[in-house]
């Protein structure tokens, strides 16, 4: 291996397409382990690459790359505790582990260069690391199927540290360029560890409205009350895990992730502004990036954990795909309108169920105010597609849509007779489940009006069973 100091001084940032490979290996005891390898090469912001990079022959197989690298601890600070998570990746799950990608390299934080980061993930168990901190560099993708290759670097802050920073008055600077920069790079003379570190998540985390209408209590407020009650009782039993959601979009994502066998954590969130797109849910990946509605479907397709036969059986032919689009559009417009009406325009639900679940964590009066503001936004959005909000018409259309879905489903387990649920199943299931689990209003004034949508669904036995079945299989298990 030759040390080959490079002196590139380009600044660019590219991400290559992920290359997914499945490798089957026969173990000693005869069992076959299939391993999945996703390789991405991410080259980020190379300010300078004055590092010794080991060149690798393409077919070299080596267990670990270790390189001595001089650079600083700063960036690493937030990732220190991730090392412990690079272990025990379960076979078959598509969890992604990688060398850390740090967002937002601080320009004045003298960062070390070599930002060519090769991310590999494999589903084998061993993790490398004498890593106390990170950055990796390798020139090309090189990984062995049985180990993650993290080139780890120990930090030695010596005078040779390649600190670089932009320096307005004297132009962009590099420690090597000007002796003044060398002098400045010595400051601060002494560094102490960062006060705040956030542990890296292991699994993708979905920030969504959770849990469902009834399970675990419902809103975050009741969740907290439940938590405090649990603490008082000093439970030794497990706290009820958070399952499902009362919001259609959130439940749709959860169902879709479950169908594609992607393991995830749920983080209850109730503020849509926290999401990059302004709408919940969104997905926070262990590597730091956030997936919103736009990239969700594509991401799931890239990372699903299904076997080849499953995938083959689940694939829809072109007719079925077209029908799936039609039915999902039907559901998302007609049934969605009826559901919005039920939640926001039927008085008992509006003042009770919806307010408690969407705004229950706020002060009571603030919750009411936000409730009204939300309702006016919903009115505005509904009036974009129709001239007036007519209850009869909305429910009539919803009834027709539900009937169409029921006829299409027939007596199959999933739509189109597949054995593996598809995205259409996720969409339809989320609507049905939210409608069916809405708390019933026993109120003389209401006289059953607010339960009309649920009744419409219950009329069709197969939809009811279908929803229950999916819930039992994917969520309640």
């Amino acid at each position: 291996m030759s040390d080959h100091p490079q002196k590139d001084e380009q600044i660019f940032s590219t991400t290559s397409e992920p290359v997914v490979e499945f490798i089957e290996e026969v173990q000693e005891d005869g069992s076959v382990i299939r391993k999945k390898k996703t390789t991405r090469k991410i080259t980020k912001r190379i300010l300078t690459t004055t590092t010794s990079v080991k060149e690798e022959e393409p077919d070299r197989q080596q267990q670990q790359l270790e390189q001595q690298q001089h650079h600083q601890h700063d960036i690493i600070a937030t990732f220190e505790s991730s090392e412990s998570t690079l272990k025990d990746l379960s076979v078959g799950s598509a969890s992604i582990t990688e060398g850390p990608i740090y967002d937002g390299v601080h320009p004045t934080n003298t960062t070390s260069t070599t930002e060519t980061v090769a991310i590999t993930s494999s589903t084998s168990a061993t993790a490398v690391s004498s890593a106390s901190s990170e950055t990796i560099e390798s020139d090309e993708v090189s990984e062995k199927s049985s180990s993650t290759t993290n080139t780890t670097t120990t930090t030695t802050s010596t005078e040779q540290s390649k600190r670089t920073f932009k320096y307005g008055f004297f132009g962009k600077g590099n420690a090597d360029d000007h002796p003044f920069y060398k002098f400045l790079a010595r400051f601060p003379l002494k560094q102490s560890p960062a006060p705040h570190t956030r542990p890296r998540p292991v699994k993708p985390t979905i920030y969504a409205f959770a849990p469902g209408w009834k399970v675990g209590g419902g809103s975050a407020q009741e969740n907290q009350k439940q938590e405090s009650k649990d603490k008082e009782v000093e439970t030794e039993k497990e706290k009820e895990p958070i399952v499902g959601s009362f919001d259609v979009d959130s439940l749709k994502w959860m169902a879709y992730l479950k169908f594609n066998q992607i393991d995830y954590d749920i983080r209850p969130a109730f503020e849509p502004t926290m999401s990059p797109s302004g709408k919940l849910p969104f997905l926070a990946l262990p590597n730091g990036s956030l997936i919103t509605e736009d990239g969700f479907e594509q991401w799931v397709q890239e990372n699903k954990g299904q076997s080849d036969e499953d995938k083959a059986s689940a694939a829809l032919n072109i007719h079925e795909a077209a029908e799936a689009v039609a039915f999902s559009t039907l559901a998302e417009s007609k049934i969605h309108a009826a559901l919005l009406y039920t939640l926001w325009f039927e008085a008992p639900h509006f003042h009770g169920t919806t307010r408690q679940h969407y705004f229950g964590h706020h002060n009571y009066y603030l919750g009411k105010l936000l409730n009204y503001i939300s309702k006016s936004n919903i009115v505005h959005s509904m009036l974009l597609t129709r001239t007036q909000i007519d209850r009869e018409l909305i429910f009539e259309e919803a009834s027709a849509a539900i009937e169409a879905l029921s006829v299409q489903l027939g007596s199959n387990e999933y739509f189109f007779g597949k054995s593996i649920p598809s995205s259409l199943d996720a969409i339809v299931f989320s609507y049905l489940h939210v409608i069916l689990t809405l708390p019933r209003i026993q109120n003389a004034e209401d006289s059953g009006r607010s339960g009309e949508l649920a009744r419409m669904v219950r009329k069709h036995e197969n939809l009811f069973k279908y929803s229950q079945n999916i819930w039992k299989k994917s969520f309640a298990a």
């Binding site: 937030t78 967002d103 400051f187 601060p188 003379l189 560094q191 109730f270 926290m274 002060n363 603030l366």
Partner: protein
Amino acid sequence: MATRQPTEEELAAHRKRQQEFEEAAFKIQSLVENIRHDPMKLRKITLHGVGKTRESFLRRILEPAFQARSLHEVIGLSRQAVRRMERFGIFEDIKIQLDSPRDSWLRDRKDLVDLGIWVKEGSRIQIRTGTEAGNAEASMYGALTVKNVFGGAETLSTSMAFGTRTSSAFQFALATPVLADPDKNLSINLYSQTRNNTQWSSYEEDLKGGALKYSTLSPFGYHELAYEGQWREVCRPSEKATLTIREQCGHSLKSALTHMWVHDMRDEPLLPSTGHYVRVIQEYAGLGGDVNHIRQEIEAQVARSNNAGYILSATVKSGYLHSLNGKPSKISDRFFLGGPMSVRGFKSNGLGPREGEDSLGGDAYMSAGVSLMTPFPGLSNYDSFKAHFFANAGTLVSVQPGQSATKTIDDLTKAPSVSIGTGIIYRHPQVRIELNFALPLMAAKSDAVSRGWQLGLGISFL
């Protein structure tokens, strides 16, 4: 025009006139001296030129003058009453005249005096627009002020400001003196602001609220007691906001009692050369609302100088946020530290817990600064320019609810961020401008350091 030398006669006449003046003044003075302790009372006060000001209000101001029992006291108390009237700022011009009573049946009474006051009320409505610079921010504002709204020197003002840090602010305030005392003031404020924190924490904050404030002077200094209700929303996280900031997004209500005490004995606030200054702010939030905490902030400054223009000043600032209900603090209440006006050598709000490039704020901080200001070489004639040598240190930590006090103190003292540097200060009449070259000596790994040149513009510096 050439002045010719005064002739001998003119000089003699001048001297004679002067002597006559002196004799007359001496005569009046001795006359007054003789009778100043004679019993004398104020019988009637007549105000001329008052149109909108309330009679009850003026009566309260002038009431103490009736306590006078001798000429000496009459003159003294009348002057005091007029001073009080001037301090309200609603009169443009005040003239007084003491005279014997006009009424015929009182002509013989030597012990009664009438006071006549001629006032000119100032204009009521004032509209101002302009720009102003404050601590690390600049803004344009427009304000409408109505003085003496209800006749009792109440002030009503509405203002609108757009700035760099506070991107928009609307305020409506009604202030009134209490019991006709210009030192005691009661005011109601209603405001709606948007603060732009994207530069250091990647979020914006909407604030709407109201406050009821009572301020007064006591022998200890200036006190202000306030009740504040605030609805704040952390919203619009920027693209690069980290997850911890995103999790802070949302609404919260704060309902708090605040007390502020200021004791300012400096010669001037922008670049003090003598004196000391203490400010203590306490806030208890918990009367309803989402947050329940006690927030305390202390600032103290002392300055000494010698006649050659050398000034040594030292400042200490400290704050503590203690959560009372066991929940972690919200970012809207936390402290931030660092910057050209706080610990120099670090970016604005660059100290303390940070995630990525976002500053998360902390619950407890300590900071101290020592500055030596000397006359600037070459500009020693200009007192506004000073060379500046400083050393600053600070720590900002977060406190978990239920943490022991010793751990907090330990966290605060174990790893301070220290910087030294030098620079030049210019004292503009409204602001202080500093250009410093700062070097951080000790820092935490996550601190956002700013080596080298740093410009600071503001009013209160560490």
